[in-house]
């Protein structure tokens, strides 16, 4: 009789949820960032390709808008049972945006443009031996959207726009496997993959008057498909056959977003705007990882997510101190799509409060230089991850500081 060993502890992957609210970056234009991320109603510059494609035909010429940002996210977890507090390692990520577009000729009703921007992306690195290591050790993801766009000014009030989105990106997730090697160190799963998907961005911009403008946009869901990711397992050689290096497929829905916005100038120097985003997170009902090679320990993963749709509010203002100098300020409330019991450490999400500010300076008429800062904080959220057993009971909090610099040039 031969003793056959199998690893009782199967791998449970929770990765990929990283494409959740915590990683949705509302950083697609610096002027808008300074105003709490609002920008559906008012076509400030070429970044309206993202905020409202219908606004592109409102620009008074071809513009180029470029910005770069740095996100410094920190997540902390205080475990109730042990009293231990874990903080993610300090890391920086660099989202960017490039937009070029405007009316094809001076006075033309037709405008075209293209935007390249990074609406989802970030990362977290926990200590390799932290309490949630079997859920996640580190996660990193990046996505780049390319959006060619056309916009048409129907009349002095109504203009419309549409853009096609091609999205690509990559993700990497590391997770400990509860199999100790001879030194007592856990195994590790490392999943890497490239993903891509397509979608579209539609917008209607209404210029009711010089003082009052409205915007209505719809960005479609983008299904980011990982067709052939690489799953590598670092485990003791005696159990390597239980965790064969293999390919995996997955699909991560980036949610549809419908927005309504209003912009109003109570006085000449001041613009106030409000956006309401209806975010279709419920598309994210489960997370699936399918491996091409499977074993008793390495099985396809179908983890329920059951996100709920959310409504976010963004409010901001821009004040022109002079023709050359203006300042922005804003705030946003971005509620979490994650239900209680599904708060897990790769996406310790909670209702977000965002405070922003910014300045814009035009040394010459055609050029504007902008700087903006976003501060994001979440409420302290108590959670037990409920996977049938109660695990990782504790409290999470996320904070992030995001400074950015950008320029806009009006040709």
């Amino acid at each position: 009789m031969k003793r056959l060993f199998s690893i009782g502890t199967a791998l449970t992957l929770f990765a990929g949820t990283a494409f959740g609210a915590g990683y949705q970056l509302n950083l697609q234009g610096l002027r808008q960032l300074g105003m709490g991320g609002s920008g559906t109603a008012w076509p400030w510059d070429a970044s309206t390709i993202f905020y409202n494609p219908g606004g592109l035909a409102r620009l008074d010429g071809i513009q180029a808008s470029v910005s770069g940002l740095m996100i410094i996210p920190t997540v902390q977890f205080a475990q109730a049972s042990t009293g231990n507090v874990y903080t993610t390692q300090s890391q920086q990520f660099y989202p960017f945006n490039v937009y070029v577009g405007g009316p094809v000729m001076k006075g033309s009703k037709l405008a075209v443009g293209v935007g390249v921007y990074t609406p989802f992306g970030s990362g977290l690195t926990w200590d390799n031996n932290w309490a949630g290591k079997y859920f996640i050790q580190s996660i990193y993801l990046q996505s780049i959207f390319i959006q060619p766009t056309a916009s048409y000014r129907i009349n002095d009030i109504v203009s419309v726009g549409a853009g096609f989105i091609y999205a690509f990106g990559n993700l990497e997730v590391k997770q400990a496997i509860p199999v100790s090697n001879e030194n007592g160190v856990d195994g590790q799963a490392d999943l890497k993959g490239n993903a891509n998907g397509t979608g579209y961005n539609l917008g209607v911009q209404l210029k009711a008057s010089d003082k009052l403008q409205f915007g209505l946009t719809y960005r479609s869901q983008v299904n980011m498909k990982v067709k052939s990711g690489n799953a590598n397992f670092n485990v003791p050689s005696s159990v390597a056959s239980s965790f064969p290096n293999t390919n995996f497929t997955s699909q991560l829905p980036l949610p549809q977003v419908a927005s309504v916005g209003v912009g109003y100038k109570p006085i000449k120097k001041l613009t106030l705007q409000l956006d309401i985003n209806f975010i279709g997170w419920s598309a994210y009902d489960s997370l699936k990882f399918d491996f091409s090679k499977q074993t008793a320990e390495l099985k396809n993963q179908h983890a329920p997510r059951l996100y709920q749709n959310t409504v976010a509010f963004r409010l901001g203002g821009n004040y022109d101190f002079s023709k050359k100098f203006s300042a922005m300020a804003g705030a946003a409330y971005d509620p979490t799509p994650v239900h209680d019991g599904f708060v897990s450490p790769e996406l310790p999400d909670a209702d977000r409060i965002v405070l922003t500010c910014g300045v814009a300076y035009s040394p010459i008429r055609k050029l504007t230089v902008m700087a903006a800062l976003e501060y994001t904080t979440t409420a302290k959220r108590n959670s037990i991850y409920n996977d049938g057993n109660l695990s990782l009971d504790g409290q999470y909090q996320t904070k992030a500081l995001t400074p950015g610099l950008g320029i806009n040039y009006n040709f």
Partner: protein
């Protein structure tokens, strides 16, 4: 001045970017954890993988408890550490490749190939007194026997003699050298476990350990246990009493299947012809229950609720006809009568432990229930634990003692009981920080 102000503002801003979660400070409640004493047997000593070795001791549940007690005023915790990581007096088991009689090589528990360091048998009593006085192999009834350490040493068990200040005294006297303000006591397993791991060869009741261990008489157990707890509490110390697990749920008894005798029709026919229906022994094509010796050496077919021990020689089952032509010898089998003896003794001892806890107003820790939960399977922060041999995570390679992780889980359960009894808020241990069975 303005410059300093703006630097201050920047620092403020950066500080606001870091979350600052805090957990409430642990409180000792109405117990005094300043001097902690751990009384017990191999489980308390940190014994694992069929031996006592340094890494095992460094992962003992008393050490884990002492680390948590330090958060509520606990002091230094001294253990009688070995120098060697190989094991004393025999090598610990490790996972390695071994080749069966059929020439099949597979991963199995094998003895650590390194030599035993016999210098570890020398007395380190001068370093004492020790806070962990766990002695592998010791029974509750041994705890009040003067000279136990010398008797054990003569029998080849050097654990007590190597650290007792006075080997001629009672083990209880060694425990009392530390003026404990808080103690845990996990005595009693060996009063029944040694009988069970000897396949029930000993007597019930009795006091022998050689050649086969007996079950301690419950009345004797009760008397000894009360003397121990009376003494430990005589200076007002508070503590926790752990009861003893039902050993038949542990991998040592549940790993070898009773029906792994797979026969073809011809083999079954010839075995039937050989046994001629003796004691109802009957074989058929397919899986059959093994043939074993009962308590009196009479062949019978093993039944549900009876156990074949983990120590049964695998090659004898595979190649020497054990379990079919030759009944598996009685010392590798726990029959239903023997199981009943084990369960009756366990129940009696646990009644004593619970009554004593009540009488002395001490925390009663139902380890028996906890180990049942553990064997059924639990999840701790994403890692699954159960009683499967080797891969279950909590039990070490001897199928009786725990892994560093298993001991940390045990510590957590004890902490829960202490917190409930003494209104303390001692935090749990992050058990997943410690290793399970180590794979090559």
């Amino acid at each position: 001045m303005k410059k300093i102000y703006s630097v201050g503002l920047l620092v403020c801003l950066l500080a606001a970017c870091k979350p600052d979660l805090k957990t409430s400070a642990p409180k000792p409640g109405n117990a005094d954890f300043s001097v902690y004493l751990a009384v017990g047997n191999s489980l308390t000593a940190g014994y694992a993988d069929n031996s006592l070795y340094l890494t095992g001791q460094q992962n003992s549940y008393p050490l884990r408890l002492s680390e948590q007690f330090k958060l509520v005023g606990g002091g230094a915790f001294k253990q009688p550490l070995l120098m060697s990581d190989v094991g004393l007096p025999s090598q610990k088991l490790i996972l390695g490749l071994s080749t069966s009689c059929l020439g099949v090589t597979s991963l199995s528990p094998i003895p650590d190939p390194q030599p035993v360091n016999w210098a570890d048998t020398a007395s380190i009593a001068a370093q004492g007194p020790f806070n962990n006085v766990g002695v592998p192999g010791i029974r509750c009834i041994d705890y009040i026997v003067p000279g136990y350490a010398l008797l054990a040493k003569a029998g080849g068990i050097p654990y007590a003699s190597r650290f007792f200040a006075n080997p001629a005294a009672r083990p209880l006297d060694e425990a009392l050298r530390i003026k404990a303000t808080f103690f845990t006591c996990w005595l009693g397993s060996n009063d029944v476990l040694l009988y069970a791991t000897d396949g029930g060869q000993g007597n019930d009741p009795g006091t022998n350990v050689k050649p086969y261990a007996d079950i301690s008489a419950p009345a004797f157990f009760d008397a000894a246990y009360n003397i121990v707890i009376d003494s430990l509490t005589s200076n007002g110390a508070k503590g926790a009493l752990m009861n003893i697990p039902d050993v038949t749920a542990i991998p040592f008894f549940t790993t070898v299947p009773i029906n792994a005798l797979v026969l073809r029709k011809g083999q079954a026919d010839s075995l039937n012809a050989a046994y001629q229906g003796l004691n109802g022994i009957r074989f058929a094509a397919g899986a059959n229950n093994f043939v074993v010796q009962d308590h009196n050496g009479v062949p019978k077919q093993i039944q549900q609720g009876e156990y074949i021990l983990l120590t049964v020689p695998q090659d004898s089952l595979t190649c020497a006809g054990w379990g079919s032509l030759k009944p598996i010898p009685s010392q590798y089998v726990l029959t239903s009568e023997e199981v009943a003896n084990v369960k009756a003794a366990t129940l009696a001892y646990n009644t004593t432990i619970q009554t004593t806890a009540t009488n002395h107003n001490l925390a009663y820790i139902d380890m028996n229930s906890y180990l049942k939960t553990l064997t059924a399977g639990i999840t701790f922060d994403g890692a699954a634990y159960n009683a499967t041999f080797v891969t279950g995570g909590a039990f070490s390679l001897d199928g009786v003692h725990l892994t560093p992780r298993g001991y940390a889980l045990a510590a957590n359960f004890i902490i829960q009981g202490i917190n409930a009894k003494y209104s303390s808020t001692i935090p749990a241990v992050d058990a997943n920080k410690y290793s399970g069975v180590k794979f090559p």
